[in-house]
Symmetry: C2
Subunit: 355 residues, 2 copies
């Protein structure tokens, strides 16, 4: 058995994969594959509707918000957000908490003025910037809830006087959130929600329709809302597998239940990192992510050997991002605590070998 | 057995579906699903490379062209083409041969001047406009090779003094083409190449980098070229299934071989439409598509009954688009001539019933 600690596209529940494979051969007993049916068929419309309903139920999305399944990943959202919200000669506020946040703000600079309220770049993004004033005259504030590369995560969200836009790609559905605090939430599916190929967007309807410039159709939230995410052919299979994953999450008790598991999983691993003298965490403790656990070795010469040792015991995807080095254990919703126990045991065994 | 005449997402080869299902459970014997491995893994990079190589081989793409697998469908290309090729205060030329062509030109109007060289709209797009002068001072000429809704198809491509941009969503890989005649070719995968969720783009490199405005990163061909279609997480599974489908096509003898089959299939069905007094084709004969065969009944009151009759015999997806009515038999590469024989027999049987 493999313990998949990869950062994304990432681990999915086994039950989901079984159903996902079946749908390729015969979807809903139709005698046809899900890959070859019309997105306008009743069967697929039911999938899209259920996916949207599950998002609304799991996150308790209030009235006045729309839920979209789009394409193009978070990177497309980096452009869509300013296209839809940023009027010429106005400014947007960004917090620079990592490379992806930095890409988002660079993209916005193509559209207008960008105020970078705070950045932890000089510290290689080892912490989440927190002390900053939010300009009341900016069109929106953009933040990133979890920084996959560095293993940092916002523990609480800022109270913002302007619409709060949040890239939740790597921790959506990992904990309860109060959607009413946000203007736009977006997330590529491939970390905590499904496979690569679709992007979830939750948008407060009243924010739209206020810019004076033309928005390319495919980048226009309102058009996708008006067409129920079916303005053109949606990424059928990625939406289906996301729907299955959300259904699995609901059966597990939803985001409140999974948060408890995620806390237990993260605590178990961080405790070992702090206890085991061979290892150390890479970011400040108060900002530690419950999704991506980054750590290195006190003696970097041992890292290659540990990676190999872990791999031999079925733990894969542990190599850290090149900008941090060492290891990154991504422990998304679908990972069971059993896999964390295996990793912890391997760390302990490795420590004994090198005592 | 179902005979899937749906217009898209459309029929895929059974061999492809079997492999595609296997990869969901265990990809390449890795013990992991293709849905949960990194797009930066050697295993997936091999898939992307093979997909690109197959496109180049099957279409004999010459040097100086790049092959991309993107997201967002043809609708995103409607904006990407002018973003990348249309300088402010310059104009683009479009031929309006159907609703999709019309959407493409409407999108371009957001960017600059659009010259509509010809349109068959007044005839409900029952023919392909052919007699038009191409303005040598336009930035490019945009055409649609096959009009899925109306069942019309370009039999020969215009010789254009300006870069020729072609939406080939519904007939790419159905016949040999001379790529060197084109500036950009694009196609949503979900008709003749794979499942929904990825878009093939073949672009002549020298056309890029000439506009003075900023292009949003995800809409910038050059950025995707520089990153081998992996600027961000690609739609992994859709690329994989497209690769499998192209491999299947190569094993069948490639586009020249499939063209022969496509001609035989289309001839068989059109002959029956022309022979059988109950049915008639909807578009002019010289423009008839070998991918989407549109026909109605002389007596429209019988159409519902025929649709039911066909369905009872396993022929599904035959309902015509609402703007044409009647029937549309989409007979893409993956459909065998056996299914056409079944449909023809049903038409004959139905005629006997109503003799």
């Amino acid at each position: 058995m493999k313990h998949n600690f990869g950062a994304g596209p990432a681990i999915l529940p086994q039950e989901v994969l079984k159903q996902a494979a079946q749908a390729i051969i015969d979807f809903n007993g139709s005698g046809m594959s899900l890959l070859e049916i019309s997105h306008r068929s009743a069967d697929f419309e039911a999938v899209m509707n259920e996916a949207v309903a599950l998002v609304k139920e799991l996150l308790q999305v209030p009235d006045g918000y729309s839920v979209l399944f789009l394409q193009g990943g978070a990177s497309t959202q980096f452009a869509m957000v300013p296209f839809n919200l940023l009027e010429k000669n106005q400014k947007a506020a960004y917090v620079d908490s990592g490379v992806w946040a930095s890409k988002a703000l660079k993209e916005a600079k193509n559209f207008g003025e960008v105020a970078v309220l705070a950045s932890s770049k000089d510290a290689n993004y080892t912490f989440i910037p927190k002390d900053y004033a939010i300009p009341a005259d900016a069109s929106y504030l953009h933040i990133t809830s979890n920084n996959t590369i560095y293993g940092t995560q916002l523990q609480t969200f800022p109270q913002s006087p302007i619409p709060l836009v949040c890239d939740m790609s790597s921790d959506i559905f990992s904990r309860p959130i109060d959607v009413s605090n946000f203007g736009i939430i977006y997330a590529g599916a491939q970390k905590n929600m499904g496979p690569a190929g679709t992007t979830l967007v939750i948008v407060k309807d009243e924010l739209l329709g206020k810019v004076s410039h033309k928005i390319p159709s495919m980048l226009n939230y309102q058009l996708h809302i008006d067409n129920g995410s079916m303005y053109n052919t949606p990424p059928v299979y990625a939406v289906y597998v996301s729907m299955l994953t959300l259904k699995w999450l609901k059966a597990k008790g939803g985001v409140a239940a999974i948060e408890k598991e995620n806390i237990a999983k993260a605590n178990l691993l961080y405790e070992e990192i702090d206890r085991n003298s061979l290892f150390k965490g890479t970011c400040v403790k108060e900002d530690r992510s419950k999704m991506n656990v980054c750590f290195v070795m006190e003696n970097p010469d041992l890292e290659k050997e540990f990676l190999k040792f872990a791999q031999e015991h079925g733990c894969v995807g542990l190599k850290g991002h090149r900008s941090v080095g060492g290891f990154r254990a991504s422990i998304y919703n679908a990972m069971s605590i059993t896999s964390i126990h295996v990793l912890v045991e391997i760390m302990q065994e490795f420590a004994k070998k090198h005592a």
